[in-house]
C-alpha cells in the first residue's frame, strides 16, 4: 500500500513538472520576435506567402491564445505540427525517439557492464596499479568532450582501422527489421532477422562507446567509493574473520550493499545521456532525437523544440521513478516520497 501511495505522489509530481516545463519552454521559444515562417520558407519567399504561412500555423495569433491552443492540443495527444518538417511533431518524435533510446540504452549497458566491475576492481586493489588505471581512465572519461571523442573514435575505428561502420543505424544494404518497438536490435530479434541484428549491433558499438564513456566513468567512481566504504564496515570484517573466501566477501556481501548508491546514479545518468546524444548523433549520423532537436532549434521550429523538451523532460523523472522503484525493491526499509 505504501508503494501505491509513493507511486501516485511521484506521478502527480511528474505531471506538475511537465506543466512547468511546457510553460518555460513555450516562453523561451517566444521571447524573441524572430519569425519561424521566414526560416521555413527561406530567402525567396514573397511577403504574401509568409503571411499565408503564419496564418496556417496560427503564428499570427496572440501569444496567450497560442499557448492555450498548444496545451489543449497536448491534452489530446497532439503536439502540433513541426514548422520545419511540416509533419505532426508527435509523428516526428515517434520516428526519431526510438533511435535515441536504443543508443542511450546501449551506452547505459556499456557503463554498467564496464563501470561496475571496474569500480569493484579499483576498490579491491586500492592504491595499486589497477586502481590507478581505473581512476585515470575515469578522470579522463569525466573530462573529455564527447564530440571530440566521437571525432577521434570515428577516425580510428572507421577510417583508419576499418573495424566498425562509420555512422548510421544499419548497413546501407541490410533491410531494417519491421518496426515494432523502433529499436533495431529488439525488432530484429523479434523478427529473427540475424543479418539485421548483427548489422545494427555493430553500428551501435562506436556511438555507444563514445556516449557511454562519461557514464562509465561515473559508475566506476561511484562503485569504487561505495565499495570502499562498505569494505570498511564491521560486517565485512566479520565475514572475513569467519574465513569466507575473499571473492565471496567482495562480490556477495560487498557489492550487494555498495550497489544502492550506484543504482541511484544510473537514473541520473539516463537523463544526462539524452544531452550527450545530441552531440553523439551529430558525429555518427544517427537519425535520432538529438539531431532532430538541433535542426529544429536552428530553424526556430518551436513546436518541435517544445515536443523534444517535453519528451526529454519526461524521460528524466520517469527514469528516476524506475530507479526508485528498483530501489524500493533493493531496500524495503527505504521510505521515500
Amino acid at each position: 500500500m505504501r508503494f501505491v501511495g509513493f507511486l501516485t505522489r511521484r506521478i502527480v509530481g511528474i505531471a506538475a513538472v511537465m506543466v512547468g516545463v511546457s510553460i518555460i519552454t513555450f516562453a523561451i521559444s517566444h521571447v524573441i520576435p524572430a519569425d519561424p515562417a521566414v526560416a521555413a520558407l527561406g530567402d525567396h519567399a514573397t511577403p504574401d506567402q509568409i503571411a499565408a504561412f503564419r496564418a496556417e500555423y496560427h503564428l499570427d495569433r496572440p501569444l496567450g491564445e497560442q499557448y492555450v491552443t498548444y496545451v489543449t492540443g497536448i491534452l489530446r495527444g497532439d503536439l502540433g505540427r513541426s514548422i520545419r518538417t511540416r509533419r505532426p511533431v508527435a509523428e516526428d518524435l515517434a520516428d526519431f525517439f526510438p533511435a535515441t533510446i536504443e543508443l542511450s540504452f546501449a551506452a547505459l549497458l556499456v557503463s554498467i557492464v564496464v563501470g561496475l566491475p571496474a569500480g569493484v576492481w579499483s576498490a579491491v586493489f586500492r592504491g595499486r596499479l589497477p586502481d590507478h588505471l581505473v581512476r585515470v581512465l575515469s578522470l579522463v572519461g569525466g573530462s573529455i568532450p564527447v564530440f571530440w571523442l566521437g571525432l577521434i573514435v570515428i577516425g580510428l575505428g572507421y577510417y583508419q582501422l576499418g573495424w566498425f561502420p562509420g555512422g548510421g543505424r544499419i548497413d546501407t544494404f541490410v533491410a531494417p527489421p519491421p518496426t515494432r518497438t523502433g529499436l533495431y536490435v529488439v525488432d530484429s530479434l523479434l523478427a529473427g532477422d540475424l543479418d539485421a541484428l548483427r548489422s545494427s549491433l555493430i553500428h551501435l558499438v562506436l556511438p555507444a562507446l563514445t556516449l557511454g564513456y562519461f557514464s562509465t566513468a561515473v559508475v566506476a567512481r561511484m562503485t569504487r567509493s561505495s565499495m570502499l566504504e562498505v569494505l570498511g564496515q564491521d560486517y565485512i570484517r566479520t565475514a572475513r574473520a569467519k574465513g569466507l573466501h575473499e571473492r565471496l566477501v567482495v562480490w556477495r556481501h560487498g557489492l550487494r550493499n555498495a550497489l544502492i548508491p550506484t543504482v541511484t546514479i544510473i537514473g541520473l545518468i539516463f537523463g544526462s545521456l539524452l544531452s550527450g546524444a545530441v552531440l553523439t548523433e551529430t558525429i555518427f549520423s544517427w537519425p535520432g532525437l538529438g539531431r532532430y532537436a538541433t535542426a529544429s532549434a536552428i530553424s526556430l521550429d518551436f513546436p518541435a523544440v517544445l515536443g523534444v523538451t517535453l519528451l526529454a523532460a519526461v524521460v528524466y523523472p520517469v527514469a528516476n521513478l524506475v530507479v526508485d522503484i528498483a530501489y524500493f525493491w533493493l531496500d524495503p526499509r527505504t521510505q521515500r516520497g
Binding site: G20, I144, P145, W148, S225, S272, V278, A313, Y316
Partner: protein, 293 residues
C-alpha cells in the same frame, strides 16, 4: 552533455573546513598547478602568446607545427598556439561566470526555501525539479536558439541548467543545520533571520558548495564547448576551444592538429577542475578522507 551526473556525485555534510591537508596529495597539487597554469595563461595571454590570435596570413595557412608556429596555423593562417592561449581566457571566464551566477542564484533560492520552509519551500523545490528535468544541452539549445547564438546566451543557458543543483544543496544543508544547537542558540538570543542566515547557516554550507563549484567549472567549460561545436556558442573570430574543434573537424584527415590541440586543452582544463573537486571532497569530507586520498 552529461554534466549533471558529475553534480550527482555524493555530497556529504561536513563540519570541518580544512586548511593545508589538500596539499598533502600529489594529485591535488597537480590539479592546483594545472589550474594555476591555465589561470596564468588566461591572465597573461597577451604577453605569452607568440602571435596575435586574430592576425591572418593566407600565405601561411594550414601549416604543421614548426618553430615559428609551435602548434601550426589554422585555415586563415592564424597561430594555433596563440589562439589556444587566448582560448583559456574564454573558457575560464565562462566557467567562473556560470559558477558564480548559478551558484549565487541557486544559493539564494536554497537559502530561502530551506529557511522559510512550508509552501515557499514546496514551490521552490518544484521549480528546481523542473530545471533538473531538462536535459541540459537541449534546454541550452532552446535558449540559445531563441535568443540567438552568442557566448553570453550560452552562459545564460548553462547557468539556467546549473543553478538548481545549488538550490537543492544549500536547502539540504540548511535543513540539517537549522535544528542544530548553535542555530537554536542564536535564535533564542533574538538574532534576526538575516543574521542567522548570513552568520551561521551559510558558512556551514560552504564546503559542499565549493566541491560542487569545482566540478561545475569543468562541466560549464565542456557544455560551452559543446554548444559552440553545434553553432550555438562563441562568435567568430573568438578563439573558443569548442569552435576551434568544430572548425578543425573538416581538416581532420589532412591537418589533424587543428582539432586535436583544442580538444586536449579542454580535456586538461576540465580534468584539472574535476581532480580539484575530488581533492576538495576528500579533504572536506572526513568520512571519505582516508580511502579516496
Amino acid at each position: 552533455m552529461a554534466e549533471r551526473a558529475v553534480a550527482a556525485f555524493p555530497m556529504r555534510a561536513s563540519r570541518v573546513v580544512a586548511r593545508a591537508p589538500i596539499l598533502r596529495n600529489p594529485l591535488n597539487v597537480t590539479a592546483i598547478a594545472l589550474i594555476a597554469a591555465f589561470t596564468l595563461c588566461a591572465l597573461f595571454a597577451p604577453l605569452l602568446a607568440p602571435h596575435d590570435p586574430l592576425a591572418q596570413s593566407l600565405g601561411t595557412r594550414l601549416e604543421p607545427p614548426s618553430s615559428a608556429h609551435w602548434l601550426g596555423t589554422d585555415q586563415l593562417g592564424r597561430d594555433l598556439a596563440s589562439r589556444l592561449l587566448y582560448g583559456a581566457r574564454i573558457s575560464l571566464f565562462i566557467g567562473i561566470l556560470v559558477v558564480v551566477s548559478a551558484g549565487a542564484f541557486g544559493t539564494l533560492v536554497g537559502l530561502v526555501a530551506g529557511y522559510a520552509g512550508g509552501l515557499v519551500d514546496e514551490l521552490l523545490m518544484r521549480l528546481t525539479e523542473v530545471f533538473l528535468a531538462f536535459p541540459a544541452l537541449i534546454l541550452a539549445m532552446a535558449i540559445a536558439g531563441a535568443l540567438g547564438p552568442s557566448l553570453t546566451n550560452a552562459i545564460i543557458a548553462i547557468a539556467a541548467v546549473t543553478w538548481a543543483v545549488y538550490a537543492r544543496l544549500v536547502r539540504g544543508q540548511i535543513l540539517s543545520l537549522r535544528r542544530r544547537e548553535f542555530v537554536e542558540a542564536a535564535r533564542s538570543i533574538g538574532a534576526s533571520h538575516m543574521r542567522i542566515l548570513a552568520r551561521h547557516l551559510l558558512p556551514n554550507a560552504v564546503a559542499p558548495l565549493l566541491i560542487q563549484a569545482s566540478f561545475d567549472m569543468g562541466s560549464a567549460i565542456i557544455s560551452a564547448a559543446g554548444l559552440s561545436f553545434i553553432g550555438f556558442g562563441a562568435q567568430p573570430p573568438t578563439p573558443e576551444w569548442g569552435v576551434m574543434i568544430s572548425e578543425g573537424r573538416n581538416f581532420i584527415s589532412t591537418q589533424p592538429w587543428l582539432s586535436l590541440f583544442p580538444g586536449l586543452a579542454i580535456l586538461l582544463a576540465v580534468g584539472a577542475f574535476n581532480l580539484l573537486g575530488d581533492g576538495l571532497r576528500d579533504v572536506l569530507d572526513p568520512r571519505l578522507r582516508g580511502p579516496l586520498a
